[in-house]
Structure formats: C-alpha cells, structure tokens
Symmetry: C2
Amino acid sequence: MALKPLAGITVFENDSFVAGPSSCLGLAQLGAEVIKIDPIKGGPDIDRWPITPEGRSIYWGTLNRSKRSVAIDLRSEAGQELAQALITSPGEDAGIFVENNVGRPFLSDEVLRGKRADLIHVKVQGSADGGPGVDYTVNAEAGIPLITGSAEVDGPANHALPAWDLLCGQAAATAVLTGLLHRRSTGEGLYEEIALKDIALAAVANLGWYTETLQPAGERAKHGNHIFGSFGSDFATSDGRYVMITAITKRQWGNLVKVTGLTEVVAALETALGTDFALETNRYTYRETLEALLKPWFAARTAAQITADLEGSGVLWAPYASLGEVAQETLAAAQDDPAGAGVLRTLESEALGTMLVGASPVRVNGEYLAEDSPTVFGSATEAVLTERLGLGSAEIGRLHDEGIIAS
Amino acid sequence: MALKPLAGITVFENDSFVAGPSSCLGLAQLGAEVIKIDPIKGGPDIDRWPITPEGRSIYWGTLNRSKRSVAIDLRSEAGQELAQALITSPGEDAGIFVENNVGRPFLSDEVLRGKRADLIHVKVQGSADGGPGVDYTVNAEAGIPLITGSAEVDGPANHALPAWDLLCGQAAATAVLTGLLHRRSTGEGLYEEIALKDIALAAVANLGWYTETLQPAGERAKHGNHIFGSFGSDFATSDGRYVMITAITKRQWGNLVKVTGLTEVVAALETALGTDFALETNRYTYRETLEALLKPWFAARTAAQITADLEGSGVLWAPYASLGEVAQETLAAAQDDPAGAGVLRTLESEALGTMLVGASPVRVNGEYLAEDSPTVFGSATEAVLTERLGLGSAEIGRLHDEGIIAS
C-alpha cells in the first residue's frame, strides 16, 4: 500500500472554481482528510461546464473527488455557526481552512481566529485589494496574451488552459503546509492570502520577462509556436498531424540535423551566415530559416514514419494529441494493464460514468498515490457533524427538518 | 518585520531551467535557506534567454536570486563527494534536496540515502519513465495546443507561458514541505519524483477535460479567446487597445448588458431565440452572437472611456497590457510610493541592473514576504563549505587551487 505522507491532517474547504478545489484535491491525494463545506444548493461552480447531457458538472465532480462533502445552509445563522464550529473544531492537525469567499463576515479571519487562535487560514482572492479577478483577466493584465500566438495575427491570444488558477491552487497547497510547519514549530497560526493576480505577476516577473523589457531590446515580440531563446517549433506531417520538435541543447540540435539529413546544408548555411548553430542563441535568431529548412522533411512523412525515424535518435520531440486521443489511449492502457497505470486512471462514478482522473503527480518512494473516490454532494454531512462536533441523531434530524443541512 | 514561516529549514538544490529553481525560490521567499549547488561552469540554463546586451542571463539571475550559490566541479570525484556531503549534511531541518538530474549516479537516491537515511529528495523529471520532456513537448502530449487559439487557424497553438514548468515547480515546493511534515511525524525521509508530463496530464484530467470527450459531445472544439462554458472575450477599442470582458455570474452579465445599453436588445433576442442568458450555459452557446452584439460599443470608445464607463459598474474586466507596460507601471508605482508596493518590486543587481521581481504571492498575516537579494554565481562557496562541512581555509584553498571549487 502506498504511503500517505499527510495522513492525520484535516483540511476544511469552502471554495469554488479551480484554485481552492485543486489545492485541496492535491492535499487529499497526499493523504489529508478534506472536508468540503458546501452551500446547501451548491456553490457557483456546481453546474459548471464541461457537463454531461443530464447537466451534471464533470468539472465539479472531477475537482472535488476524494473529499467529504457537507451541505449546509450558509445563509442561515445556525448554518453559519455550524460551519464556524467545523472549521475551528479541535485537533492538533485540524484547524486548517482554505476558502475563496468575498464578503462573508462570518468566515472572516478575525471572526474565525477568535474561535481558534492557531487557525491556518488560506484565502484565495482575485486581486490583493479584495477585488475580483479570474484567470482570463489576470492573464490579460500580466501581459501574456500579447506575446502568445502567431505574429501574423493582431491582438491578444488567450490561453485555453487556466494556468493561473492551477498555479494558484498549488501555491495554496504550499501555503497550507507552510502554515502547518510553522504551527508545529511555534504553536502559532497563520493567515495566508493569495491573490490570483499576484500569482500571475510574480510568476512572469520571476521568469525575468518584465526586466527584459527594461533592456535595450525592449518589448518581446510574438514568437508564435517557436520556443523563446532556443529552437523548437511545430511541424505538419504528410497525414495531417503535427509534431513539436525541439533542439534546446547542442546535442539535440546535432541529432535533429543528422536524422533529417541536413548536415551539409546546415554547415553550408553556417558558413554563409557566419554563425554557429551549436549555440541556442543563434538557433533562436535564425529560427524561421531553420524551420523552413526542416519543414519539407516532416511534410514528406507520415506521423508514423516520423515516429519510427525519431525513435532512438536523441531528438526531443512529441506528437500533438487531442484531448480525446489522450482519453482513448488512457482507456486502452487501463484495459491492457490496470496494474501498470501511469498518472492517468479511470474512476467509475454514478453521476458521471467513467471518469479519467489524475493520480498525484508526486510519486512517493516510487509509487503513484492513486487512491480515489467520487464525491457525492452532501453525502458526508451527518457523519462529519457527528465526528467533529459530536452531534447526536436527534440534533441532526432537527437540523435536517429545519433545512439547515442536507445530505 | 515580516514573518519567515520556513525559517530554520535548509534546502539544497542542483537543478536548472524553471521548475526546480522556481520551487526553491518560493521556499526561500517563505523563509527557507536555499543553497544552490552549481556546476563549476554553470548549468545548462546559465546563459538562457532573456539576456542582457552583455550576454548575462536575466532568466537565471531572476529565478535564482535569494539563494546561496556554491560552485563545484561535479565531474571530479572530489567535487561529487563535496556535493554529496553538503546534501546529506546534518541538521534536523536540513537533508532536503531538489534536483532534475538525468544519469548522475552520484546523486541517485540510493547513493544519497545511504549517506542520510532520512533525506527528503525531490526529483523533477521530464517523463516518469526517465525520458526527457519540456514544457512544449508535454503541452503537445496533453492536448492543450489543439484547443488553443482561433478556430479559423489550423493546427496547434503553443502557449508562450511555461505553465507546466511553473506548476511543476509549485508541486515540488509542496513535495518538499510534505516530506518535511512526514519526517517530523515519523522520522522517515521520502523520495518524491515529479514528472513534468504527469503534471500536465493530471492537471488536465482533474479539470474533467479528458472525461468530457467520453461524453456524447466528444472532442472540445477550439474556442478562441472565449471563456469555455460561460461568457467572456476580448474586444478591440477605438484606439487600438484590447480589453478582456467576462460575465461569468448572472449579476456580471446583467451589469454588462446595462452599461453597454443593450438591455432591450438582449431581452428581444432572448425572446426570439427562446433562451435565457441569465444562465451561463446559454451565454456560452450563443457566445458569438453576444460578442458581435457587444463589439460596436467597445469599438466606438477609447480604452480610457471604457475604463471610466466600467469603473464601479460591477462588470468583471481587464485591459490587456504588454510586458513592457507592466514593467513601466511597476517602476512608476515604486517611485511614487516604495512602501506601498504590491507583489512586484524593483531589485538592483550589479550584473543585471534594475530587476523587476515578484515577492512571495502568499501574503502572511497581511504582509508580502519581499526580502530579496541578487545571487552572484559561486559567491557562497567558501562560506557554505565552512558552515556546513567545517572546512578550514587551508582545505578550501587547496580545493580552489585544484579547480574543484570556484567563487
């Protein structure tokens, strides 16, 4: 059986969308117990796309599995008190709360810390001033869309991936564990706030990309599908597929030139241009020329031929896959060898059918942490109230009848 | 003075590019001491773009600041022994190692764990099978580029942001702290491997995007700059700027319709189509129609007018900025009010001039953790060897003379 390095830790979450839920999913996969306090009719993401034909949210169900869902009417005073009592309930490795609320005074740090002084409280926000922000708005503000995509297309290109939400979620997981280490050392809690906009700005700054614009070269231009500062681009195959080819190191470049039969052409070009493509700087400078030289080799071959030719060649490359192709490959691999599964797994859910889910990408002592279960909305309400607050069945029945809780 | 929640923890890193270095930068910002073991001539990223006109890497200098750099000839046996001795040197909260090496037996987990059994060893890889992988190749394999960008453009669109590298770095930081909590509880170390490809596959899976393709709707189509499953897109202004407008909630949508004067048009359209745009599902279905309706309002106004009109309107939106504009705004803000700085800060470096850097986006008890300093390659070699291994000046001099270390 795989280790559960965070076993014994209990995290409460009351959040929505990607950042908070993905952070707590990651902690659950590392062994923590995650108790999700859900508004009695679901949060704003309960019906979010992608959805099944019946309207069930694959999004919510996938990001929130392996958690225990407690459904409480958070508009009622009694429900608010229950939520507070859970979040601040005793336990050396409890008292941990991840949330992304705006304007809910009963969940403010001041109020909660009054009930448990050593609380570890991680708040995900849009902007550090308390204003809203989503992946698409902070991406625009951080400057990424104006350097994304083809230089021939005017205007911004948004990314499809909610990269900032995901990064914010991982930062929230780091913040939870930082708080726990600090509390174990000092006995003190922490209030940790993380704004999505700050995540984006800090990450781009830490790549040096803002500093770069202060140098004589100034603004970075769009570079399409090329790798900035080195060599790499997409190439179309003869059968309508695409491959991503990179040559970041000198050795990779040498291998690419060799396998494509361009050794003499490239040598002659280096002489003609007075340059040396062994240096990635020069490969970047002449990227469009090199791309044009390589293009016919790929255009004359099928993806299968290219795969055969590049295998064992020492070229760093990958085929472009569609989401559906990844899904079908995963299903086929699971059928062939359930025990040999990689990070992707199948999980059967009553609400969503066959789900394709990710184990923890952190392999511990050589093993994927892949224990997983679908979460049914509200299904842990009674058990958690009994375990954490000691409520009896009469009290739970009364809360049910009054519409304060659901299960 | 701001708290340093990870004070007392010492992390050794021997890595390159984005993932490992960004993970350790984040840990340094939370208060850990990070000792970077650098190959004596620098790792493969030491000259990476963006660079200054003198060829100094802004990339390396920005990702590796606030660390102590120790330069060792890792090809020599004596240098390998020094690196091993540092990584496994005693200390309750030392014995933590982040790396991304391929094929360096002297840094294998087996060898290092033989010298310190409770080591926390976090290895960043390309692929879980030990093969290579970079952000661009794993992105292609995960299926993102084929749903990115305009539907009118064939083929894949790579993202400019190394999203997977950054996410992998944050996962590595989480892994370090997970290991430390586990070691404090059990006395046992952990070997934690993280493959970049697994990071990408697991994240996309956990958004439900692979599962989605198993449903009747099948493959997701490219949706350009639109927000999937809700309403949001970019709009051009009359003065050549772009704004990102979103309406994810019913209230945001209502506010957007109101401020653009389209209340009656939208109501009539709802009647004509027999739909209700209060539901985000319907806003997504008719996204192109709604975008076309809204376009003239933005096209008739300058960015400044739009800002004035949208301020206080309850619409969630953002202007698109370029990297250079973010940089200039940051410089101006720092000049106006150095004390009021947000997550972005200036940092003066002898090698790189004025750097724009990110504080820790995790605000602790209301404060940014912004202590920061440029790292000079090899500058901590002697101090670290003295502190951690007790080497005297004669021994250090000898290692210097033999070319085993540099400073």
